[in-house]
């Protein structure tokens, strides 16, 4: 007897359809799974057998062959358990789900038959809609996530035993409410914690308003990490489509909690991270930190300590907003449009050459700084030189709260979007768009003056212009004035001479 069931397997951050075919016929009792299963899928045999028996169904003592089609696609993860179990019960005449077709199932089984949540249900539901599937059986805990996709009815199961009732039509599962993607950001860290540090606040605001990447240089303990972790709180709220992208990635990586995404992501990988960990890799290729930081902030603390190849790997993704990971036999394109924030000490001992306490040899500090100018530096627009805040500043009143700064940032971004088109920010202005920005006379002469005095490269010239555009957006000006150009020239990251 033959039966089939539709399910999906996760591939990167999207889902691919898999057809489970089960054949039960006479012969020595056996249970084999074919069709390129990974270890977790192969182990499904044991879970399926125990779950079927423990839910009061009968496990046929016959020759059972499970084929996962298409046979060329590698199937990963335990999400196929439920489909295999249901197809097996249909093949042994214990169940008939045909009235519910077109239907697909995902879920991991426990030995007692309860259905456990799986990662990537949002992507699976979207793939199901594309395939014309109308009903999707999902673990109860993933119901809110599946309900985000209209046109696909989620059927939430707690246990395999409920399948019989579902098939017979005498039990209908509860309708889950779609998870809220645009919930107000949780009461996370607030920029008010950053006391004093006026320059850093200014730099953070400009960075957020233009989506510019930022480098902070300063002694340890001066507040670099604190400032970076507050950056998401001053970024404008996610648009609905962006929130869905963030939720899809979080779901595929199994990091989407029951409450849904908590605003913009903030990722701070340790400096020992490998290139594959940073931009994605493995076989089959999975997303890396850059993708997890999509639409949020990627914070690289101790930039000089990162492996050079890891930083090099980040260059193209930073520019394009996409990362292409190719491995033997497979290729993925993952989104990664994030804001880069990096922090570094001014010298190996961290105090800075101008501090009399600095114990570094002069050459050591120079060499350390030369590492700042290598690798990723030409992709960084802003530099904030940080200083240890004084005792009076630390004991002083809290700074301006995130909400007030976010308002200004949002207004500046809206201004930029009106000029550039939806979803774009000043950081990704093309050279042609840059040349088209309106400059007041004073600003133009100041830029030309600095260009010749500091022997700026063309790239540095564009960087200053781009920052000036953002500063003008923050000030609500259409034309870049002299003062805004001066601020941009001060904030720009400088090339080592």
């Amino acid at each position: 007897m033959l039966a089939t069931a539709q399910t999906f397997t996760l591939d990167g951050i999207s889902a691919r359809p898999v057809r489970v075919e089960v054949d039960v016929h006479r012969g020595l009792p056996a249970f084999s799974v074919v069709g390129l299963p990974d270890a977790a899928v192969r182990e499904a045999r044991e879970r399926v057998r125990a779950a079927i028996v423990n839910c009061g169904f009968e496990f046929p003592l016959r020759r059972i062959v499970v084929n996962l089609a298409p046979a060329s696609l590698r199937k990963a993860g335990p999400g196929l358990d439920l489909a295999i179990a249901v197809a097996l019960m249909m093949a042994s005449d214990q169940l008939d789900l045909d009235p519910l077709a077109p239907l697909a199932l995902v879920g991991e089984l426990a030995l007692d038959g309860s259905v456990r949540p799986v990662p990537g249900v949002l992507a699976i539901a979207e793939a199901a809609r594309e395939r014309g599937v109308e009903r999707l059986v999902v673990p109860a805990e993933n119901g809110a996530e599946a309900a985000l996709v209209a046109d696909v009815e989620p059927l939430c199961l707690d246990s395999l035993a409920q399948v019989a009732g579902l098939a017979a039509g005498d039990w209908s599962p509860p309708r889950p409410r779609p998870m809220s993607l645009l919930a107000a950001p949780r009461s996370g860290p607030d920029l008010a914690d950053l006391r004093g540090q006026r320059h850093l606040r200014h730099a953070l605001e400009v960075a957020a308003a233009g989506g510019h990447s930022l480098l902070m240089v300063g002694p340890p303990g001066a507040g670099k990490s604190l400032a970076a972790s507050r950056l998401p709180s001053i970024l404008p709220a996610l648009a609905p489509s962006e929130a869905l992208e963030v939720a899809r990635i979080a779901s595929a990586c199994g990091r989407l909690g029951a409450q849904g995404p908590q605003g913009r992501p903030f990722r701070s990988p340790h400096h020992t991270i490998s290139p594959a960990g940073l931009v994605g890799g493995g076989n089959p290729p999975g997303p890396g930190e850059a993708t997890l930081a999509h639409r949020g902030v990627l914070f690289l603390d101790e930039l000089c300590e990162f492996r050079r190849d890891s930083l090099e790997a980040l260059r193209t993704p930073l520019e394009s907003g996409w990362v292409s990971v190719a491995r033997a036999g497979s290729w993925r394109r993952l989104p990664c449009r994030f804001m880069l924030v990096a922090a570094a000490n001014p010298c190996p001992c961290g105090r800075g050459e101008d501090d009399p306490e600095c114990t570094c040899a002069p050459f050591a500090a120079q060499r350390y700084q030369s590492r700042l100018s290598g690798a990723l530096a030409d992709r960084i627009d802003l530099l904030a030189a940080i200083r240890q805040p004084s005792a009076a500043e630390i004991a002083g009143p809290p700074g301006e709260p995130s909400a007030a700064v976010r308002e200004r940032v949002t207004a500046a971004r809206e201004r930029a979007e009106r000029r550039l088109g939806p979803g774009r920010c000043n950081a990704d202005m093309s050279p042609a768009e840059l040349r088209g920005s309106a400059l007041a006379d004073g600003a133009a002469s100041l830029l030309a003056d600095s260009y010749s005095r500091h022997r700026l490269s063309a790239r540095a010239h564009d960087r200053a212009l781009r920052l000036a555009r953002t500063v003008a957006d923050l000030a609500g000006e259409e034309t870049i004035g002299r003062e805004q150009m001066a601020q941009a020239l001060q904030l720009r990251r400088r090339d080592a001479s």
Binding site: G196, Q197, R198, H199, L200, R201, H202, A203, V217, P346, G352, E353, D354, P356, A361, P362, F363, A365, Q369, L372, S373, L383, A384, A385, I386, R387, S390, E393, L446, D449, S450, R453, V471, E483, A486, Q487, A488, L489, Q490, L491, R494, D495, A496, S497
Partner: protein, 371 residues
Amino acid sequence: MSEPRACPDCLRRSRLLAHLAPYIERVATGAPGSRSPELLRLSNEDLLAAVAPKVAVQMLAQVEAVPERRLRADLRAAGCWACCRHDDGYPPGLRDAADAPWALIGRGEPALLERLEPDRAVTVVGARRASAYGRGIARELGRELAAAGLVVVSGLAFGIDGCAHRGALEGGTTVAVLGCGADVAYPASHRSLWRRVCEGGLVLSELPPGTGAWRWAFPARNRIMAAMAGMTVVVEAARHSGSLITADLAADLGRDLGAVPGPVTARTSAGANDLLAGGACLVRDAQDVLDAMLGPGVRRPERTGSALEPELVAVLAAVERGEASCDAVAAALDLSGAEAATALATLEALGYLTCSPIGVYSRTLLMEPGV
């Protein structure tokens, strides 16, 4: 001025030195007290007898056999020219030195040789491993001395030398004296600086084109730098450093010696401070050098900037007090981050301040008008 022209004998001497380089390396080091300057004082025969007695006859014959045509063709092929001690264009300062090089192979503008009189040239030397302080001073000195019409002589090394050249190229002209062939950019990472000096100044060496860098050649080139200029300024030097060789050689020749003081706690400035303790001229800025070389008050360098508004004067004063970052300035003067950034960028554009790649501001020597 006519093209400088070296006689074949002097060119052969230079070629002999290149052949002998590995032998000299065996008996002379690159450290202070190196024998190389005194070895180079010897005649061809004595030099050969001192460093390579076994191959002396053979090597002398080999060098003598090179035809003049070939010597000149090799120079032209490397884009160089040469002048020798028998030529009118030979730098007069070098004539004072007993151990002066027989021939100087040059690359760049030959007309500059004329300006290499001791009272119009100043040598700036210092540590390769220099601090930000020393590098900044060297650059300022280089720029202002060159702008005052002096030729800045240095050695194209890392640190102080490189900064002095860079500054001098901004203000005027400079001469680099190398310890390798004039067509060899050493150190290699100074290739672009070498090219700029070739274009905007002059590169000199006593060794023929294509000769690599030997350790003994550096003390030897120091004697050329010391002799060429009327004053040698040591910007930052540790005890027992190569810059002090140049200082000693300059003092031996009766040239003026100046040193820039450094923190008494800094090892990198100990040598320079020792020179000051021993009676060297105190160099705080370019004017001190000009006073020593040209007489007090002569040719005050152009360094008065444009007038400043009161707010900018306050910011400038804060930086002078040591508030070196934008954040510190904002906190000290109670300005917003944006206001402090605007003021600092304006002052930088006017030339009153410079900023390091990590955002540390320092004051230049440019004076406010009326101060």
